[in-house]
Every structure is written in structure tokens, then in C-alpha cells.
């Protein structure tokens, strides 16, 4: 790519190169198998009946007419599931209450959002299944919907859950039931003293809309409950083990009875971590004894799968005239959707993370409303909270007449800085990103023309580690099949295989990575949290080291010497002591591979890691926009994304992640929103009216990869997938303000919103 300024490192042979991805041919030719492609003998088609109401009590469900329809094999409701207990289960990026997990999959006593599943049908084909849905009679008692996070928090608001009380960080609960599921607070220093020190204090309020991940492949799930009591599931998921561990308790099976095969995935961005269809397919299969496939259409995806939270946020920030930020007070109220579990915690920890501010208070509220249960979405919580804080920081710089980039450098966290939540940074690339942005051709260029403006913003995301497994065998021809448990969303087959290849000293093409089912590889956490190249790569490194050790031992056995005298070199030459005649003894990797089976057997390397560390990621984005003052439309003229990748394993995929994050961030900034009427009906549940940016709405996004290696990883990897979604919205807001002098305080900053802010009140 012309615009890339990636440092192609010379330290490595494979890392930093751009090989063709291993799964590329199948994807380009259409041979890759996605969940909807699956067809099994005797398979039935399932459809889901969904609530037309946002908030209602289910008085009765009569399925008898549907069951009597020719071709219908089974109809299920929540009552057909074994009763789900009040226990917590691991749901990938956190835990959840099992009853709420089941109730979200299929409603029990109440429906809590439009599109909430109430029954499911298995029939000979999906047309019959659709006809059957129309024959299911549900009687609802309508309740007042709660649609706004601030309304939901008010005493006397209609309650979604009678038994929900506000949990504090110390574990105590409020006396009265509430829609506020939890309140958390992080503090540092003396807030009042910090504001007293400030020369300028600004306070702003923000509202953001729910936004969907917008993966192109809708959800799907196929299940086959066999006569021997084992359950097979094929699905599009970010975490096969999480599907196994969610479905098993819902059907009161042992996880060992459930095998989950992850199919190819057409995007997830966090939204394909929860289970929706899999438990329904499993129970329908149990009832019918036949495989059952369920798929969603786009409307179902938007109505009933997890978006990210809409929010109300308030930020007060103070600074001295020289630009030193003295205090910040952040209030975050996040919509969780129908059940608790918004990403407000992560949003709170990220809110001020790039800056070393001595006095801070960050409050976060997790609030249920009659909208779909939120799910993780790329850096969950951070695009919202950092939109608020970065926006106020930009306005402070404007107010003080300071360069917003310089002001960020002046307050930037460096190694040793501590966040309000207590985390202390190791080696990070915060300053390096800002400096690279400062030196970029974009920042150095002059922007000319009417109604044009430039904006900048910084972003932070933690990244995570946790469990990954890598098992690899050595074929006789020196190739190495590698099995992984990580669904490949962003090119992780390639990035993990490259780290195995680097460690073994072979080429990326000689490693053949495969994503396998839950019975064929060790426990692997979800593909999420920007963890897969980091933790999966670490597992691959340890797996390769295991192979190197075994190959040294095998060579020693062949040479009849001590294994300690054999060395596996980084050039993939295995060297031993001189033989009796004084000649050097050595094998190439391929030579020894060819002798493994006859010299004592096949070699399998394996590694199962659980890394609680990670490498934090920072990013700096610059954007130029032009605003049409007559229509309120914003065009992105130029965009530069700078990001610390630690080490860019496959720079093309790092650039792809950066560009993809920007595209989604610009979508949130400009047009993406959940548009509800007052009854809680989502009026734009289609990709026509839920407006994600198209290729024509974005310029080529310039990328600049900074590499500050993560000392906590064998190859210095930091996660790269999430942080690039964070800076776009505040950067675009600043650019709009720079262009037309109007500061927008809501997302999206749509043409409608901009006209509302700019038209004279009589117009």
C-alpha cells in the first residue's frame, strides 16, 4: 500500500512480511464454509417468533395451531427449557446470570424489547416454519417502555426487572429495586483541589445512540442432538468454547456432551460472542431427533442481537493556562439493553486513560432499558467514554488557544503513570503515536477552502490475553499443520502461523493453520479483546519451542549423543557434536522431519497458555472534513490513523484493522443510530436505513504503524483490532467545529443533527 509507512522489521525472517493468507483461496473461490452453507441429511429449518412490543408481560402462548400445521415438527417456548438457575456462567468477555442468558435467548414472563424471541419452530422448510409463526397465538399485557437511560434511572420509572437492585463496587445492593444494575466509581487525588487549581473549567453533556457492529453475515446456528446424548453445534461465533459453555447449562448437559464447530465467520466485532440461536436449535433438535438449522435475516440481527450502548455522559475538565490538565470529573450512564451488562466499566477505565491527570473521579452506571441486550463491540465502552473526554479536551485546547496535539503530549501518560482504576503502565507507545502524528504529512499539510476543518483525537484500549492453545505436528515433508481454537476474523490464522514459522525458522507457507472444534484443541478464549494474535501467537511460540526441544531430542537419539549437545538454531538447522570421524553432524528441519516416523515416531508440539498480561494500545487520528452548510452533510476529505502495534506481525492486516476501525468509528460519528419511535419500535432495522458508511463515503485511510514492542510478549505484540474505532468520533467532531464553528454534543452527527444545530430557530 502506497500510504503505509510501516517499518518492515529486519530483525525477523517471517514477522513483518506480508504473505498471502492461508484461508485466502477458499474465501476468494467461495469454497469456504459458512454456517448458512451447512446442509445435513434430514435437516429441519427453524424460525423464531419475535415480540412486536418493547415491554409487555406474556399472559399466554398457544402453539397448538402451529404444531398442527403440516410439516411442522416442533414448537418450543421458554417453558420447554430445563429451568435455568440463578448462577453465573462465563460468557466470553465476562460472566452473566444464566437465567438472564436464557431469557434473552427466549423470553419467559416478559418481553423486554421489540424482536425479543418468544417461540421457535422447526419445520420441513423455512416457508412452512414462517407460516407456522403466524399461527402461534401470544397474548400480551402491554407495559410502558423505558427507552432513555436518564428516564430509566429516575425513581418511579417503570421497572424492567422486579428483582434488580443497584450493586455498588463493595458488593452491597440498593434497598429498592431499580433499572440501574450497578454503579462503579474510580477516584484519584483531590477533585475539588484540582478544579481550584484550574484556570479554565469546561463542562459538556453528550448523548450517543446505540450502534450495531454491522457484520455482513447474519447469525446462524445448526444443532444435532444425537441419540447417544451428545450434541453437535455448528455456528458462526467468536468463541466455540463459550458457545459450548453457554449452551450446555441451558440444556442441563455436561460441556463434555457438547461439541461446537466454529464455521467461517463473516464478521463479529464482539457481537458474535453471545448465543442467540444455538440453544434454540439444540432444543428443537432434542425434540425432533433431527438436525435443525436456524438463521437470522437482517431485520432480526438489528432488532435482537447486541448493539453497543447508547449513553448519556457528562464531563467536567479543568486546566491551567499552560495546558496542564488539573482535574476531570466524568459521569457515564450506559444503556445495557434489556439485561444488565453494558460495557460501562471498560468505558470508565478508558475514559481518561491516555492522560496523567492528578485529580479524577469517574462514575459509571449500568442501566437496563427496553432495547436489545448490548453485546461487546470493538473496544466496548471506549468509543463512547473517550468521545466525551477527548471532545472536552479539544474544546479546552481551543479555549486556551493551544495546539490540541501539543496539549495531549504535555499531559500524556508515560511508563509508570497510574490510571484512576489503579493500573500502572509499563512501556507504552502513547507519546510515540502523538509524535508520529505530529510529523505526519497530514498534520504538516495546510488545509484550505471554505467549510473545511481538521480534527485530532487520541485513543486507548487495554487489550487482553487469557487462554489460547496451539497444537502442531511435523509432517514428513517438513510442513507443519497447526490447529487453533480461535475463530479467524481478522487474519489470525496467518498472524499466528507466522509466529510459529518465525520460531521454527521455516516459512509462513510451510505452516498450515486450521481452526478446529472444541474436542480437537485445548480451551481457547473468544476471538476478542484484541487478544488473538497476542495470546495465540504466544501459544504458537511455546508450541514451536516444544517442537524444537523434541527435535533436538530426536536428533540426539539418532546421533546417539546427549540432547544437551544438540542445538536447534534459528536458521532451522539442528546441529549436534562431531561424529566419530570428526565430521559435523546436522539436519535441516526438513531432513529430520523426514526421519521422524522411522526414528521413534511422529512429533506433536503443544502449548496451552493463559496470559493475564497484555500490551496496551494507543492511537492518534487526524481527519479533515468538509461540511455542506446547506444540507449539514459531512464529507471526510482525508484521514490518517497512527497506532502503536508493538510489533506488526503481518503489517497488511494491521493496516486493515486500523482502516476497518476507522470506518466503523466514522459510521458511529456520522450516521449510525438506533432510531426508535415512542413505543420502542426500532424503525430502521435494515441496512438501508441503518446507515453504515459505504466505500464511497470514505477516502483511502492513511495508516502509520508505530512499533514500541511490548516487553511482555515473545515478539513484542500488542493487540491492534480495537483501538482504531475510538478516536474517529471525537476527531470528526473537532473537525466539524473547526469547519463551521459548531460543537456537536450528540452522536451521530448526522445531517439532520447538524441542521438542527445550525439552522436559525425560525427556519
Amino acid at each position: 500500500m502506497v500510504t503505509a509507512q510501516s517499518k518492515e522489521t529486519e530483525q525477523y525472517n517471517v514477522i513483518g512480511t506480508r504473505p498471502i493468507r492461508h484461508d485466502g483461496v477458499d474465501k476468494v473461490t467461495g469454497a469456504a464454509q459458512y454456517g448458512a452453507d451447512l446442509n445435513l441429511p434430514g435437516m429441519l429449518a427453524g424460525r423464531v417468533l419475535r415480540s412486536p412490543h418493547a415491554h409487555a408481560r406474556i399472559v399466554s402462548i398457544d402453539t397448538s395451531k402451529a404444531e398442527a400445521l403440516d410439516g411442522v415438527q416442533a414448537v418450543i417456548t421458554n417453558a420447554d427449557f430445563p429451568r435455568a438457575g440463578d448462577e453465573e456462567i462465563d460468557t466470553g468477555e465476562g460472566t452473566a446470570n444464566l437465567k438472564w442468558v436464557l431469557d434473552n435467548v427466549i423470553a419467559s414472563d416478559k418481553v423486554l424489547y421489540k424482536g425479543h424471541a418468544v417461540a421457535a419452530v422447526a419445520a420441513a422448510d423455512h416457508h412452512i416454519a414462517e407460516d407456522a409463526l403466524e399461527l402461534i397465538e401470544v397474548e400480551y399485557e402491554l407495559l410502558t417502555p423505558v427507552l432513555d437511560v436518564r428516564d430509566a434511572m429516575v425513581d418511579g420509572s417503570p421497572l424492567l426487572h422486579d428483582g434488580l437492585h443497584t450493586a455498588a463496587m463493595d458488593g452491597s445492593k440498593s434497598d429498592n429495586p431499580s433499572n440501574t444494575a450497578s454503579h462503579l466509581q474510580f477516584t484519584k487525588g483531590d477533585l475539588d483541589a484540582g478544579f481550584a487549581d484550574a484556570d479554565v473549567v469546561l463542562e459538556r453533556e453528550f448523548e450517543t445512540s446505540m450502534a450495531h457492529q454491522g457484520y455482513i453475515e447474519p447469525h446462524n446456528g445448526t444443532a444435532y442432538y444425537r441419540a447417544d446424548g451428545t450434541l453437535d453445534i455448528w455456528t458462526s461465533t467468536q468463541g466455540a468454547f463459550v458457545v459450548r459453555d453457554s449452551v450446555a447449562p441451558l440444556l442441563q448437559l455436561s460441556p463434555s456432551q457438547v461439541k461446537v464447530t466454529p464455521m467461517e465467520i463473516g464478521g463479529g466485532f464482539g457481537g458474535k460472542i453471545p448465543v442467540y440461536l444455538e440453544p434454540l436449535a439444540a432444543l428443537l433438535s432434542q425434540k425432533t431427533g433431527r438436525p435443525v438449522k436456524l438463521t437470522m435475516n437482517r431485520e432480526e440481527v438489528l432488532l435482537a442481537t447486541g448493539p453497543t450502548s447508547g449513553t448519556y455522559m457528562r464531563v467536567r475538565m479543568g486546566a491551567k493556562r499552560d495546558g496542564t490538565i488539573t482535574a476531570a470529573d466524568v459521569h457515564l450512564a450506559f444503556e445495557a439493553g434489556a439485561y444488565p451488562g453494558s460495557p460501562v466499566g471498560a468505558g470508565a477505565m478508558c475514559a481518561l486513560a491516555p492522560y496523567d491527570i492528578p485529580n479524577q473521579r469517574i462514575d459509571g452506571y449500568d442501566v437496563v432499558v427496553n432495547k436489545p441486550k448490548t453485546a461487546a463491540y470493538r473496544a466496548p465502552g471506549a468509543p463512547q467514554s473517550e468521545f466525551a473526554t477527548e471532545s472536552v479536551l479539544n474544546e479546552l485546547a481551543e479555549e486556551l488557544g493551544l495546539d490540541p496535539l501539543e496539549m495531549r503530549l504535555q499531559n500524556a501518560c508515560v511508563e509508570g503513570a497510574q490510571r484512576a482504576d489503579g493500573f500502572t503502565y509499563g512501556i507504552i507507545g502513547n507519546v510515540e503515536c502523538l509524535e508520529a502524528a505530529q510529523e505526519s504529512p497530514h498534520w504538516q499539510s495546510e488545509l484550505q477552502g471554505p467549510n473545511r476543518g481538521r480534527g485530532i483525537a487520541q485513543g486507548f484500549w487495554f487489550n487482553i490475553g487469557f487462554e489460547s492453545s496451539a497444537y502442531a505436528q511435523v509432517n514428513g515433508d517438513g510442513t507443519v499443520p497447526l490447529v487453533l481454537g480461535s475463530t479467524d476474523i481478522g487474519g489470525t490464522r496467518a498472524s499466528i502461523a507466522m509466529q510459529l514459522a518465525e520460531t521454527l525458522g521455516i516459512s509462513a507457507e510451510e505452516v498450515h493453520p486450521h481452526v478446529v472444534d472444541t474436542n480437537s484443541v485445548g480451551y481457547t478464549q473468544v476471538t476478542g479483546g484484541s487478544r488473538t494474535t497476542f495470546a495465540g501467537g504466544w501459544a504458537a511460540y511455546e508450541c514451536a519451542m516444544d517442537i524444537r526441544r523434541q527435535m533436538e531430542e530426536r536428533a540426539a537419539q539418532i546421533w546417539e549423543c546427549d540432547a544437551a549437545d544438540v542445538t536447534y538454531g534459528d536458521d532451522a538447522i539442528i546441529r549436534g557434536p562431531a561424529d566419530e570421524d570428526g565430521n559435523d553432524q546436522q539436519f535441516s528441519f526438513k531432513e529430520l522431519a523426514g526421519q521422524l516416523v522411522t526414528s521413534g515416531g511422529h512429533i506433536v508440539g503443544r502449548a496451552d497458555v493463559n496470559k493475564t498480561s497484555s500490551g496496551p494500545a494507543f492511537a492518534t487520528h487526524i481527519v479533515d472534513v468538509e461540511v455542506d452548510p446547506d444540507t449539514g452533510k459531512v464529507d471526510i476529505l482525508r484521514y490518517t490513523a497512527v497506532q502503536d502495534a508493538g510489533t506488526a506481525i503481518h503489517p497488511a492486516y494491521v493496516e486493515g484493522q486500523m482502516q476497518g476501525g476507522v470506518a466503523q468509528g466514522v459510521g458511529m460519528a456520522l450516521n449510525e443510530e438506533y432510531y426508535y419511535d415512542e413505543s420502542g419500535d426500532l424503525k430502521n432495522a435494515s441496512l438501508l436505513d441503518y446507515r453504515m458508511p459505504t466505500a464511497l463515503d470514505l477516502p483511502m485511510i492513511e495508516t502509520n504503524i508505530v512499533e514500541v514492542p511490548n516487553p511482555g510478549h515473545p515478539y513484542g505484540v500488542r493487540g491492534v483490532g480495537e483501538v482504531p474505532i475510538i478516536p474517529p468520533a471525537p476527531a470528526v467532531r473537532a473537525a466539524i467545529a473547526n469547519a463551521i464553528g459548531v460543537h456537536m454534543n450528540e452522536l451521530p452527527m448526522s445531517p439532520r443533527a447538524i441542521l438542527d444545530a445550525t439552522l436559525p430557530s425560525g427556519d
Binding site: 416457508h127 414462517e130 407460516d131 431485520e299 446547506d630 444540507t631 449539514g632 452533510k633 464529507d635 456520522l670 450516521n671 432510531y675 424503525k683 430502521n684 438501508l688 436505513d689 446507515r691 458508511p693 459505504t694 464511497l696 463515503d697 448526522s750 445531517p751 439532520r752 441542521l755 438542527d756 439552522l759 427556519d763
Partner: protein, 288 residues
């Protein structure tokens, strides 16, 4: 999708009789870019598709010796914008046809279908209105002709009666020094439905006076509107900032929109004026 029957009509008479026999559940099928989706999503009860696009007079483009134009109702958009004479004499049709749906949709979607779908936001209809288009309708009682601006009666509603369908669209020859332009406003740059749209046509005399004009604005009322007041504001004088502003104000005043997920009342009333102004200016540029 419910089970549907499909019948391919070979003549206008056969189509009329199939539609008449089929009753409420029968729909004419041309490109199908609206009706097939409506059937699949069960937003319209359809049990019989009567395919009209194989009837010779329903598909194709005919340039009359008097300079007039006839377009078969089922003619796909790409054939319309690919016709050199249309591109030269009726560029406003190219504006519309190249905006309906996307490139793939334009391979099947037709102006007749766009008209019969009768969306207030249809990207084809304002251009047909300012070109003084006439709709030729066939039905059990023979043929009749309706002006395009009188065709739609409400969102998704039109003047077609039982057994009737649109056969073709007629346009008079464009006058000397006339020009027309269609624009729509969408929040993105492609693949979207108009928040508001507009077409304007003007005719100039040798002194630069506007001698005739038509302005039509869409997505701001239950049907695309012919805004007489906007034309009146510019006719009889050379174009000026004041006359264009008066035309824009007339369109905004004529607007009677709703607030929905695509736009607000305030936004649409404002855009009716903005698009009127822009299309008048660009129509005059085309008039030369």
C-alpha cells in the same frame, strides 16, 4: 416468503386478463426490485406475479420522428441511461435512472416500476413530472392516459384500478434552450433513499428570460409534488438570486412532510428549498 404463482404474459390483453382474474393478490412484475422484496418480507400479500416485461410494447425505447420519446414501462434503467439520444436530450432521466438502487439494481429496475411503487421518495418520479410525462395505462376498459403528477395518490397508492397496469411513458420533444436537472439528498454518497429530492426544468428565451418552468419535489409530502408556485416565481424574468430564493421558499411552503428515520419535518422543509434552488440553477446551465 409465501408460495406464489408466476405467469408470463405475451400480450397486453393477456396481462390485463391475468391481473383481472388474479384479483388483489396479483401484481405486475417487471424488474421485481420492489415487489419481490415485498413478497419475501411479507409486507404485501402477493400470490400471482404477472410478468409483463416480455410484451414487446412494454419494454424498449422509441424516439418519435417529432422528437418525442416513449419508454416502455418495464425498460431497465441501464438501457435508459445507456441510450445516447436520451443522454443528449433528456439528461434528467439519466440523473434519475443512475441513482435508483445501485448498479446491479439498475440492470432490472424500471421507471414504470418506480412509478407504480408510488413511494413519496421515488427517485424517478420528479424527473418524469418536470418532463411533462404522460402515463399510458391498459386495463379491462382499454387504454387511458394520465399525467405523471396525477398518477400517485398516496404513499404506495396510485390511480391504477383492477386489472390495470402501466404500458409506457410518453414525453414531448424538449424545446430549444430547455434543460432539466434532478438531485436528491441522502446522508451518504450512495445506496440510500432520498431524505428529499427535486427536479426542475426551465426554458429560456434569447434574452435569458425564463419562459416556462416546472419544479417537482419528492419525499416532502404523501406524493411527489408538482410545485406550481416555484415555477411561477422564476417564469417571466431572467433567473436572479431573488427569483431563485422565491422558488425555494415556494417549495418549502408546499412541503408537508413527516418526521421518520430518514429525516425530520424541519430538515425536509429546508431541503425542499435547497434542492429547488440547486436544481433550478443546474437546469438553467443545461438549457445553455
Amino acid at each position: 416468503m409465501q408460495a406464489v404463482k408466476y405467469a408470463r404474459a405475451e400480450s397486453v390483453e393477456e396481462a390485463v386478463s391475468l391481473l383481472q382474474d388474479g384479483g388483489d393478490g396479483a401484481r405486475p412484475l417487471a424488474g421485481g426490485t420492489d415487489v419481490i422484496v415485498q413478497a419475501r418480507e411479507r409486507t404485501r400479500d402477493i400470490d400471482l406475479f404477472v410478468d409483463i416485461k416480455h410484451i414487446p410494447e412494454v419494454i424498449g425505447i422509441e424516439h418519435g420522428t417529432d422528437g418525442s420519446l416513449t419508454i416502455g414501462a418495464a425498460t431497465p434503467c441501464y438501457e435508459i441511461y445507456g441510450d445516447d439520444t436520451i443522454a443528449e436530450k433528456y439528461p434528467v432521466l439519466v440523473d434519475s435512472c443512475s441513482l435508483i438502487g445501485g448498479t446491479a439494481i439498475q440492470g432490472r429496475a424500471s421507471l414504470g416500476g418506480n412509478l407504480c411503487n408510488s413511494s413519496p421518495a421515488a427517485d424517478g418520479i420528479p424527473s418524469l413530472i418536470v418532463l411533462e410525462g404522460q402515463v399510458e395505462i391498459a386495463g379491462p376498459n382499454g387504454r387511458r392516459t394520465v399525467a405523471v403528477e396525477d398518477f400517485c395518490t398516496g404513499p404506495g397508492q396510485n390511480v391504477l384500478g383492477d386489472g390495470e397496469f402501466v404500458v409506457k411513458l410518453h414525453f414531448p420533444a424538449p424545446a430549444e434552450r430547455s434543460g432539466a436537472r434532478f438531485l436528491r439528498f441522502i446522508p451518504r454518497n450512495e445506496m440510500d433513499i432520498a431524505v428529499a429530492n427535486a427536479a426542475s426544468a426551465v426554458r429560456l428565451d434569447g434574452d435569458g428570460n425564463v419562459t416556462w418552468a416546472r419544479v417537482s419535489v419528492g419525499a416532502i409530502a404523501p406524493t411527489p409534488l408538482l410545485v406550481g408556485g416555484a415555477a411561477d416565481a422564476i417564469v417571466g424574468q431572467p433567473l436572479s438570486e431573488a427569483s431563485i430564493a422565491a422558488a425555494a421558499a415556494a417549495s418549502s411552503a408546499a412541503a408537508n412532510p413527516i418526521t421518520d428515520m430518514r429525516g425530520s419535518i424541519r430538515q425536509r422543509v429546508h431541503l425542499a428549498g435547497v434542492l429547488t434552488e440547486r436544481t433550478i440553477r443546474q437546469a438553467a446551465e443545461r438549457a445553455g
